[in-house]
Amino acid sequence: MPILMVKNLTKIYESGMIIRRYIEAVRNVSFSIEEGEIVSLVGESGSGKTTTANIILRFLKPTSGEILVDGKDIWRDIKTFEELREYRKRVHAVFQDPFSSYNSFYPVDRVLYQALELLDKNPKSPESKSLIEEALISVGLEPKHILGKYPHQLSGGEKQRLMIARCWLIKPKLIIADEPVSMIDASTRGGIIELFEKLKEEEKTSILFITHDMGLAYYISDKILIMYLGEIVEQGSPEEIISNPKHEYTKNLIESIPTLYRRWE
């Protein structure tokens, strides 16, 4: 059974007080992710990627369609706070800029404490302390260089490693990663990519990797979904998508991507 199944998902945003306007942000989207699989959702900004992610994360209600995680419908079968909490342990998010909002005023330790609280552990206990250190080391961070610092004292790469350290604490079955490396300089990006690969290999974590970068999707994924104007217009293995794109949009996209080892024409 797949970890995640998305069936005929549709989200229509309504706006306007007097003249109501409807925007179909996601239209009839279906796909699935198996255990230990990395699936990329590729599309340009505005194509519906983040809306899809927010619905899977249960931040946003769909207009219609079903999301099944381990066979349970997340909008129908999760009713109590306890069930929602369980869900947050199974499905975890890694965002583009994790410290953009309220977290920017607190030492970075806080994001790890939050993870421990989700696990019902007292963040200040000696056990928690060693869990935190272990998690930091697995993502290549030196605990004494990180703990007690404020977000602005860390580089983009370090902050993103820290968010992935949370995944090492919680060990979710599924990670929804929305543009997790797009703010990180090229020369450090490879290190973050390795961390996702390591979670997949060592913990059999499944990852929905959301990106506008086809090169990245090609490199990291087992399967690629191409999203365009709210719809998934094509899906397949990275090799299929790159060497034999079928949809006009995908063809045009792939032709436009600059290549390193070949010069155009």
């Binding site: 990006r189 490879g190 090609y218 490199y219 045009n252 600059p258 290549t259 080892y261």
Partner: protein
């Protein structure tokens, strides 16, 4: 080799902030020759934009030109730009001899002005008197030449797509047929299909003879590799390598160039085969750059000398590299 158009020799340009120097350009030398597209790559903060201001000698506080020489070669004359007052550069050099598509210019167009009025404003900085009709006609022609409808000049920026706006900026920057054009991250804010179009537009500027030489600045090697014949690699305010494009892609010499190239992720089988590298650590704060080679704290090949002495660019065949391994 073709004639020189612009030559930067041992330039230093520092930002002065609270009595401290930020050594953004530190002993940089670079030749731009006629007919050439030179790509300049480096990560954010490596000094690329500061270098564009040095090439133009557009030095404004807090930036200060410490020493060095910037020479423009024009009709057999050599003009030392670093000795010319700003007003004179504005009247006689900028826009006519050298010009720039500034980083983020397409988003900096005045939202309340039609494109044509922005063009007239720019022209007023170059001429005491302007003939409006003549300039408008010229602009219309240039817009058509680079593939934008001439009516776009009567529009407001928000009425144009990103690609159109960027091409409008290109048209304005090249209106007076400058011989040397600098493009600072001209494609970075655009989505991929528009990037390709804008890249072609810039390539055509040289093919149509609108400009002679181009410096194309970006953090994206795969993009610049499509258009430039020479690649200049910057790290922490210095040039670490200069090389013909094909050779540097095939065999990068400087350890930083290697790290940078091998971290590029494009949808190509070669990338899957070689894997995606990363360079540990982060670039230095340019207020306190490390002694010796600025890359040595992150370099896995470092020698003792790298911690003490600054490597100079050394010529190896038709390439240059600043590294003690060579």
């Amino acid at each position: 080799m073709n004639n020189l158009i612009l030559q930067v020799e041992n330039a230093r340009a520092y930002y002065i902030v609270e009595n401290n120097y930020i050594r953004a350009i530190d002993d940089v030398s670079l030749d731009i020759r006629e007919g050439e597209v030179v790509g300049i790559v480096g990560e954010s903060g490596s000094g690329k934009t500061t270098l564009t201001n040095v090439m133009l000698m557009n030095i404004k506080k807090p930036l200060s030109f410490i020493d060095g020489k910037v020479s423009l070669f024009s009709n057999g004359r050599v003009i030392e730009l670093n000795k010319i007052p700003r007003e004179e550069l504005q009247k006689n050099i900028w826009g006519k001899e050298t010009s720039i598509i500034p980083q983020s210019a397409m988003n900096a167009l005045m939202p309340t002005k039609r494109i044509k009025d922005s063009i007239l404003d720019v022209m007023k900085t170059h001429f005491e008197e302007i003939h409006e009709k003549e300039i408008i006609d010229k602009a219309k022609t240039r817009f058509e030449e680079i593939g934008v409808s001439k009516d776009a000049i009567f529009r407001y920026p928000f009425e144009l797509s990103g690609g159109m706006r960027q091409r409008a900026v290109i048209a304005v920057a090249t209106l007076l047929n400058p011989r040397f054009l600098i493009a600072d991250e001209p494609t970075s804010a655009l989505d991929v299909s528009t990037q390709k179009m804008v890249l072609k537009t810039i390539q055509n500027l040289r093919e149509k003879g609108i400009v002679k030489s181009i410096a194309f600045i970006t953090h994206d090697i795969a993009t610049v590799r499509q258009i430039a014949e020479t690649l200049v690699v910057m790290y922490a305010g210095k040039i670490v390598e200069i090389s013909p494009m094909e050779e540097i892609i095939r065999e990068p010499l400087h350890p930083y160039t290697k790290g940078l190239l091998y971290s590029v992720v494009t949808p190509e089988p070669e990338v899957k085969k070689r894997g995606v590298y990363h360079i540990p650590g982060a670039p230095p704060n340019l207020m306190y750059p490390p002694p010796g080679c600025r890359f040595h704290p992150r370099c896995k090949y470092k020698l003792d000398i790298c911690k003490k002495d600054e490597p100079k660019l050394k010529i190896i065949n038709n390439r240059k590299v600043a590294c003690f391994l060579y």
